[in-house]
């Protein structure tokens, strides 16, 4: 997943690139409009069952078919995406806040604090993310917050590394020397001079974290360890469609997966452009 989440392919300049950026922006606008407007226009009762219409193949009336209790798969996908996005954004923010705080503290303090913090980062990165996430939810589930905590506590590492590196490079700049010789305290230098400089990087990291968080949440939900089923996310939907899949009905499985992939690619592609804008020199063909 990492390749996509660090911003996808850096697109070549020219027509193809513009087209892709526009397509990605259009997808994201459509996704946001759908998750905000559809619940207002087409209320879905998660509990409502309509057994007369169960497991209809995709048709004009139900473009994505119906599930094993007769609910429209398209409508459920939009609702699932809404839950996935909401949890993803909150969890990504949590991870970014932790990462920025830790990275900024390490970068601004330097010395022994920095070394100690980096050892902690080493310890965290020695456990596979999903496994650590599974352990955390296993101990605190069920509920939404354990999932958010699971993502937040496992995904702050990259942000912390980026913010720390940025802090260290800012520290050697002249304006920081000027502030220090002007008598600014260590705290003031960190908060007024260093932190604003790393915020664009942290913001980019947060945006790129959203697909990662959604991915993590849907994996947990698929494993039956994530969100409660009355708040079905796309991962819950894929999990609950397993039975119908073995009977040959593919649509309740296929479409939620597509709903996971398409916004991920759109976010990655737009974030790639943003990254180039704030890091013009670090432009590279491959970001993994």
């Amino acid at each position: 997943m990492s390749a996509v989440l660090k911003g996808g392919p850096t697109l070549r300049a020219g027509r193809g690139r513009r087209l892709r950026v526009r397509a990605s922006a259009a997808v994201l606008v459509a996704v946001l409009a759908a998750v905000l407007l559809v619940p207002l226009l087409f209320p879905l009762d998660e509990q409502a069952v309509d057994m007369a219409n169960k497991l209809h193949a995709p048709s004009a009336a139900h473009p994505f078919g119906t599930d094993d209790v007769g609910r429209d798969v398209l409508l459920r996908c939009v609702y699932g995406l809404r839950v996935s996005l909401l949890v993803g954004v909150v969890a990504a923010l949590a991870a970014t806040v932790i990462g920025t705080a830790v990275g900024a503290a390490a970068g601004a303090a330097g010395g022994r604090t920095d070394r100690m913090v980096m050892r902690v980062v080493d310890v965290f990165s020695s456990v596979p993310h999903l496994l650590l996430g599974i352990f955390i939810v296993a101990m605190f589930r069920p509920g939404v917050w354990p999932v958010v905590a699971s993502v937040g506590l496992t995904h702050w590492l990259s942000t912390a590394r980026i913010v720390r590196a940025e802090m260290l490079s800012l520290r050697s700049r002249d304006f920081v020397d000027a502030a220090v010789s002007g008598g600014a305290s260590r705290w003031r230098v960190a908060v007024r001079h260093l932190l604003p400089g790393v915020l664009p990087q942290a913001g980019l990291a947060a945006v790129l974290m959203v697909p990662h968080a959604i991915w993590h949440e849907s994996a947990l939900s698929f494993l039956g360890l994530g969100l409660p089923t009355h708040r079905a996310s796309l991962g819950n939907m894929i999990q609950s469609a397993r039975g119908t899949l073995l009977a040959g009905d593919w649509w309740p499985t296929l479409f939620p997966g597509l709903f996971l992939i398409i916004p991920t690619l759109a976010i990655a592609s737009l974030a790639g452009v943003w990254r180039e804008r704030i890091n013009p020199r670090r432009r590279s063909e491959l970001m993994l």
């Binding site: 997943m1 990492s2 390749a3 996509v4 996808g8 392919p9 070549r12 050892r119 080493d122 310890v123 020695s126 456990v127 596979p128 993310h129 999903l130 496994l131 650590l132 599974i134 352990f135 955390i136 939810v137 296993a138 101990m139 605190f140 697909p211 991915w215 849907s218 994996a219 698929f222 494993l223 039956g224 360890l225 991962g235 894929i238 469609a241 397993r242 899949l245 073995l246 009977a247 040959g248 593919w250 499985t253 296929l254 939620p256 997966g257 996971l260 992939i261 991920t264 690619l265 990655a268 063909e285 491959l286 993994l288």
Partner: protein, 357 residues
């Protein structure tokens, strides 16, 4: 001994393999191996505090959680049992001290091979792991081998003409595949191969009605999970090979090979691929976390009887002793993979200063 940089650092490798450009049994080679061994020793020493910290963290999280092993053990009877009985049970289960004490007891027990008993499977944790580890290693090895082969083939093909139709198709597919959750790919694979065409089993290890693992049945049951796990690892490998080979094609060494009139095939496979693949091989060990993540999902989808699927079961049943041991085992695997990476790196490229690693 002063080593001058050559124009073709890895263009042609000696028959004896990487790092053996030094004459056999020379003092310099012996010194190199000594440095490698010292690095391994340093890494093993560094792993000790990391493992201690990870296990400590695991016990701390459990202590902070609302989960109570006594209530879990007693089940419904725990609701009506007297406080005295519960306290007795607490001390019988060895969960009465502060968590630091339990962590220390667990750690000393683990060093002598006693990892406690799984609460959900009612058997020793070491036995659970022993029975399943082999299946997981088999699945991961086959899946990873598939990813390496397919990733290399497609990566070289894409790098040949960067920006061409093939390159754009392969790269887009790789990014899409990278964004697709492996469990979803696995389910679609089950639908296609097991339900629609009925050529491969949907999961498990043996045919229904049989408990004996035969080579033929194993192969058929392994094919689909290994394919899906492999597919989830292909994009990373492919994109790295593509980048490595494309960069290598720009190198003077490769341009020189072209200028000497060597066949395109020779240039690509003997020069560019070797040069482009070397940095990649050293990264292989660092893929262990992603492989474990993939195995957690793929083994669950296919009911593969490995340690990854049992991890998920342990989490569902809040089986703390099993989870703690499996988390530690995964950490050992990750650290081992990192060490392997550094080792390959040090052996492959004699210019690397091992003393700094």
């Amino acid at each position: 001994m002063l080593r001058l940089p050559t124009l073709r650092p890895w263009g042609r490798l000696p028959a004896g393999g990487w790092g053996s450009r030094l004459p056999k049994h020379s003092n310099a080679e012996r010194a190199r191996w000594g440095a490698v061994m010292r690095m391994v020793g340093r890494r093993l020493m560094a792993a000790v505090p990391i493992l201690a910290a990870v296990t400590f963290g695991v016990f701390a999280v459990a202590a902070a959680s609302p989960f109570d092993p006594v209530q879990q053990y007693a089940g419904a009877a725990g609701l009506s049992a007297s406080q005295e009985t519960l306290d007795q049970l607490r001390s019988n289960l060895d969960v009465d001290g502060p968590f630091t004490q339990r962590w220390w007891d667990w750690l000393t027990g683990a060093l002598s091979g006693d990892l406690g008993d799984s609460t959900s499977l009612r058997q020793p944790v070491s036995q659970v792991i022993g029975e399943r580890l082999g299946w997981s290693v088999l699945l991961c090895a086959v899946g990873f081998a598939f990813a390496v082969l397919v990733g290399t083939a497609l990566g070289v093909a894409a790098a040949r003409r960067k920006g061409g139709l093939l390159d754009r198709t392969v790269t887009s597919l790789a990014y899409t595949l990278e964004a697709a959750p492996p469990f979803w790919i696995g389910l679609l694979g089950i639908w296609l191969f097991a339900v629609r065409f009925d050529v491969l089993p949907a999961g498990g290890l043996t045919d229904s009605g049989s408990d004996i693992v035969t080579a033929g049945a194993l192969l058929r049951h392994l094919a689909l999970p290994a394919l899906v796990l492999g597919l989830s690892q292909v994009p990373w490998f492919l994109l790295y090979v593509r980048q490595g080979v494309a960069d290598a094609l720009e190198e003077d060494a490769v341009r020189g090979a072209r200028a000497r009139g060597l066949a395109e095939r020779t240039v690509l496979l003997q020069h560019a691929l070797r040069s482009g693949l070397l940095p990649l091989l050293t990264l292989v060990g660092s893929r262990v976390p992603e492989l474990i993540t993939g195995a957690l999902l793929v083994e669950t989808v296919f009911s593969w009887p490995g340690i990854a699927s049992v991890t998920v079961k342990a989490a569902t049943a809040t089986d703390f002793p099993l989870l703690a041991a499996l988390t530690t085992l995964a950490t050992v695997a990750v650290l081992g993979g990192n060490l392997l990476s550094d080792l390959l790196y040090g052996l492959a490229d004699p210019r690397v200063a091992l003393e700094e690693m």
